[in-house]
């Protein structure tokens, strides 16, 4: 039919489209990660990859496994709910290999002040002091044992 003869160029143009589309499908088959769509519109393998990130804070249960005596001291005092690493920092390395990774003793002058410096902004019932007035320059552990800070429990040894 002469219509086809005179529109042959249009079919060629369309043919280019079809070719490009097939090529696209081919490439797509290779390129899209295999776990894509496993749980939703994302790469399912990403979940495992993210879950495998290294851990820096061991968690208080790991500490308590070895340091039960500290735990006993803590659990009757006001710091019962303060986890070990809240003050001692991330210690997963130490939990993994206690001998080779030695935790550094925190500096009470900085550490205690972070929570207990008095401020109009802090909740009224929360124990807070103006450090300079309160201890006249003495370190906090002179009178307060950090693991059980009540004044009659004695100072840090």
């Amino acid at each position: 039919m002469s219509v086809f003869k005179d529109s042959g160029h249009l079919f060629r143009f369309a043919g280019l489209f079809v070719l490009a589309f097939l090529l696209f499908l081919l490439i797509r088959g290779f390129v899209v990660p295999s776990s894509f769509g496993q749980y939703g519109h994302y790469r399912g393998a990403a979940i495992d990859e993210i879950a495998a990130h290294p851990i820096k804070f061991a968690g208080h249960q790991s500490c308590e496994a070895c340091h039960q005596d500290i735990q006993d001291q803590k659990k009757t005092g006001k710091h019962a709910r303060v986890n070990c690493e809240a003050c001692h920092g991330p210690l997963a390395g130490h939990a993994d290999d206690p001998a080779s990774v030695q935790p550094v003793k925190p500096d009470t002058a900085v550490l205690c002040a972070q929570c207990h410096t008095a401020s109009a902004a802090k909740p009224k019932g929360f124990p807070q002091v103006a450090p300079a007035d309160h201890s006249t320059g003495l370190p906090c552990q002179t009178c307060h044992q950090p693991h059980n800070p009540a004044i009659d429990a004695g100072g840090a040894k």
């Binding site: 160029h9 060629r12 390129v31």
Partner: protein, 395 residues
């Protein structure tokens, strides 16, 4: 501290979307607007604007080729952008980009240009100098049929392509408006009017761009400017501008009247950090002045020289104004905190990947593309007649 005023969420202080993201809607807006102007002749048979028809198509193509560049330069991982083709997320307006762009480029613009120029392409594939003949040979796709029948078919198909092209152009630029308008987190952007405002301002900028380019290229080629043509183009520019201005004012008045949660914060922003770009540049210089000047030409009989000057000035101011509008949307939307308690500043760098120099280069590049296209496929009306003669001689 970094031009921070008041309170912002800590991660908000640094802007995420830079001047490159201002450029992208500006460029696609020019594409859409230029195409709409071309469709005026092709579909709505406005004969007067025919001298700009081919130029408008080539302008659209030149800018469309440039459009992905600001986006690629902005991405943290541009090498992963094919993911938008392989795994587009159907809930994301941005995911449409790859397919809408490709559709518009190949199934609308390239197809239409090819169909309109085919006679010249075939003629040039035989008559052009050897250095460029191979380009035309490829463009013929191996078919040298330029019989009357085939050209008539081209004409018909081209008409359908242009018809489909109009909503496609709206989609190409409208989805950009939707990208902003659908973000509920940002009250400066979130609005159902956003795609509509974007489309109309795109039409305004595209028509102004083609108007300026036509006048400039005629000047450069020392040819007379077809006054009937530019008068008609300017008339369309004027009326579409009125619609655009109305839409933007409606948005503004609505915000002021409703005075919702974000209003106080946004109002302060417009009056302080955005004052120059929004009030002075976008509204006064970029909208009110061109509308007034163009309106003048519609009601007062002015001589040719004065009209040409007015069209040139209005066209330039319009382009600046529409760029400012994109700036105010994109940058403005990031200057205020989502807590409505503070503001930050945008520090545009000079030489980095997302800086001023790159932006200028990306704006100049499409003009270079256009120069190339114009050499390859001359859009000038008298060349059309010459090409017809060459083709007739070649048969």
């Amino acid at each position: 501290m970094n031009g921070l005023e008041g309170f912002m969420y800590p991660n908000e202080i640094e802007l995420q979307w830079s001047v490159l993201i201002v450029l992208y809607p500006f460029i696609t807006g020019l594409v859409a607007g230029a195409f709409i102007l071309a469709s005026l002749e092709r579909v709505f048979r406005v004969e007067a604007v025919k001298p700009t028809y081919r130029l408008a198509l080539l302008t659209a193509l030149a800018f469309l080729l440039d459009a992905p560049l600001p986006l690629q330069l902005h991405l943290g991982h541009p090498e992963r952008s094919p993911e938008m083709y392989f795994t587009p997320h159907s809930t994301s307006a941005m995911a449409m980009f790859g397919y809408v762009y490709l559709w518009y480029l190949m199934a609308v613009l390239v197809l239409e240009i090819w169909l309109d120029y085919r006679r010249e392409i075939v003629a040039l594939s035989q008559a052009a100098p050897h250095s460029t003949r191979w380009i035309y040979k490829i463009m013929t796709l191996g078919s040298d049929n330029i019989s009357d029948r085939s050209l008539a078919i081209d004409e018909r198909v081209g008409w359908v392509v242009t018809l489909i092209g109009i909503p496609s152009a709206f989609l190409l630029h409208g989805y950009v408006g939707f990208i902003f308008g659908s973000i509920k987190a940002n009250p400066w952007w979130s609005s159902p009017m956003m795609p509509v405002v974007f489309i109309f301002s795109a039409m305004v900028s595209g028509i102004a761009a083609v108007l300026l380019l036509y006048m400039a290229t005629s000047r450069l080629r020392r040819r007379a400017i077809d006054m009937r043509c530019v008068d008609t183009v300017a008339m369309y520019l004027f009326y579409i501008f009125i619609i655009d201005f109305t839409l933007e004012m409606l948005d503004l008045v609505h915000r002021i009247y409703e005075a919702g949660e974000s209003f106080r914060s946004l109002n302060f922003m417009v009056h302080s950090r955005l004052y120059f770009s929004h009030i002075v540049v976008q509204i006064c210089l970029g909208t009110i002045v061109p509308i007034f000047l163009l309106g003048l030409t519609q009601v007062v009989k002015l001589n040719e020289v004065v009209r040409k000057r007015i069209y040139a000035v209005s066209g330039a101011l319009t382009l600046i104004g529409i760029f400012a509008m994109r700036w105010n949307v994109v940058i403005g939307g990031q200057l205020f905190s989502k807590s409505f308690l503070g503001y930050t500043t945008y520090k545009m760098s000079l030489v980095t990947r997302e800086g001023l120099l790159v932006s200028i280069a990306l704006t100049v590049l499409p003009l270079l593309f256009l120069a190339l296209l114009v050499k390859l496929l001359p859009p000038w009306p008298e060349d059309e007649k010459n090409a017809a003669a060459v083709a007739a001689a070649a048969d």
